[in-house]
Amino acid sequence: MFKKILLPTILIILSYGFWISPNFKEISSGIAIFLFGMLSLEEGFRAFSGGILEQILQKSTDKLYKSIGFGIITTTIMQSSSLVSVLTISFLGAGLIGLTQGIGIILGANIGTTSGAWLMATFGLKVKISAYAMPMLVFGVIFIFQKNKQLKGIGYILSGLGFLFLGISYMKEGFEALKNAVDLSSFAIGGFSGLLIFIGIGILATIIMQSSHATIVIILAALSVGQITYENALALTIGANIGTTITAIIGSLSSNIDGKRLAAAHFIFNMITAVIAVVILHQMIYVVDIFSGLVGIGGDNHTLKLAVFDTLFKVMGVVIFLPFIAKLVKFLESTFKEDIIKSGIDTVRYLNDSVLELPATSLAAIIRETKHLYDNTFEIICQGLNLKEKNIASTISISEVIKDSYSDEPVDIEEYYENRIKGIYSEIVSFATKAQASMTPSDIDILYKIKLANRDLVEALKATKHLQKNLLKYTKSTNVNIKEQYDIIRKNLAELLRNMNIIATTDEDHIKMVLLSKIKVTIEKQDVLTNGTIDTLIRNSLITNTMASSLMNDSYYAYEIGKNLVAMAEVIFMDVRHFTAGVGMSSEDVKEITERKG
């Protein structure tokens, strides 16, 4: 309801303002041009986020101090903490960085945004920057029309900066002209109530404009012409810092649990910093005065002093929070828990719109989601074969593993498939289709292999479902010969699952490679039709014809489980881009070994 009336209300207020005051129109158009410049700048930097940015992000965020440094530098260069936040949420969602690193980047980005206030206070208000805007816009637009992605990016960056400068100029001129008509400073409110009211205005302005950067630029423009008092400007700055977290919270609603945790961390950090700043505001003003005096900023230069305050305020917040980051991460992880299984239905964990921002993160997220699907499939296969997953993962002997049954009743694999596989599988396929739109041909090739790996998992599960019925029936049979054969199938599968578990959990490529080859050779030898077992049993009338046909089919299903799991593991657990891929065993190699063994 509120959302529905918000936009028309804003439009009506603005229209009325334009009608009664041309100066208000000039200031508003300045804000609009400034915001458009920010959007254009973001678009420009996005053109470069196809590789270099990801590589830097991954390499420069392994330590907390590096994450903070990364946040400061990138936000200073890009002049947009929101783009840095979007990239951070995207990397976090894809599991490429941890929550601690994500928080580090956000803290750094907070400090990085102060560069905007410095630029505006030192350069923007003293020089006629609109003179620089025009050539930037002209060159920018020429570059935007080029086909080359990088040139287009440069075009967007140049025109973005041009619009930013033009917007600042309009705002400045608007406030100057407004001063002759109305003296806004006469509305200044002193005392604690004034502080709270202006903090509220700062929050509201930032929520409406979706940018604390823009709010601070307006504050500086108004302050430079004396339309607001220094004290009220400080309160507005504190408010802008709170408002920006609300924008991030709204943005995180569509992201996964990590995005929500990060937005919550941002909110907690900025909120507590704001409360501290309000409590010690007079002391902070005192420190700002001392610092300004030391670096030669005049006592009446309120715009530069505001930039000093903004920096001091944000650096102070980071310093206060640094010792508590580990505790904050722990708190967020326990407060925002993943809804892994809601009423028995499992859903995707890593696929969301935030990771679609970059091809690298979308590919990483699809691989992680496939591993999630593998975990579910592995668990269901274990249960379907009446084996305990914890025993498979342990070091107890395989004969003991098969003795310790999961349940006397058969598990409903179809129900498990509906609740824990189908939804995730279809989401992966649909997400992969969306993601490939922005991928290179080589990435699309990898994506295709990952899609096949997902299908292999589903096929392995289907084979388990077919096998389950007879497996339960004949392992309890009074015919010792058929019982023995089904016990062997179960034992072989338990062995296979144990090896798969090692492959899924080890980091050593040579171990994975050897185990995968071992499984390939073993499953080829285990087919009862090719190894002659079935002929011996029929010839000696040890099993009935029905038993023989069941055994023949089920041996094939067991082979299918192994074959599909191996095919999946070669893509998901061995690095698909790995240079050593050719060293692995081909089907011809497997055939050669099995034939050699006779």
């Binding site: 992605k149 040579h510 050593t580 065993m585 190699d589 070994i593």
Partner: protein, 84 residues
């Protein structure tokens, strides 16, 4: 021309693209081969000790697979050096 394209063209002109790719491949295979050789030596040592029939059989199977991988790896490595 974008920086990325510029570097790509320079690398292409100097024939560095294949060189870099091939060097990375060689390094990975060499690392893998050294680990496989280490495991091979380990298995050979184990086979000298007293083992059950089943354990001996499993180790021999693994040794055969490792030898196969080493053979494949050496073949690829030789091809890479031959290209040079």
């Amino acid at each position: 021309m974008g920086m990325k394209k510029f570097f790509k063209q320079v690398k292409h002109l100097l024939g560095l693209e294949d060189f870099i790719e091939s060097e990375k491949k060689k390094k990975s295979i060499k690392e893998l081969l050294s680990k496989l050789h280490a495991r091979k030596r380990e298995i050979k040592e184990l086979l000298k000790s007293k083992l059950s029939k089943k354990e001996r059989h499993e180790l021999k199977d693994e040794l055969e697979i490792i030898s196969f991988h080493i053979k494949n790896g050496k073949k690829i490595l030789a091809e890479l050096y031959a290209k040079k």
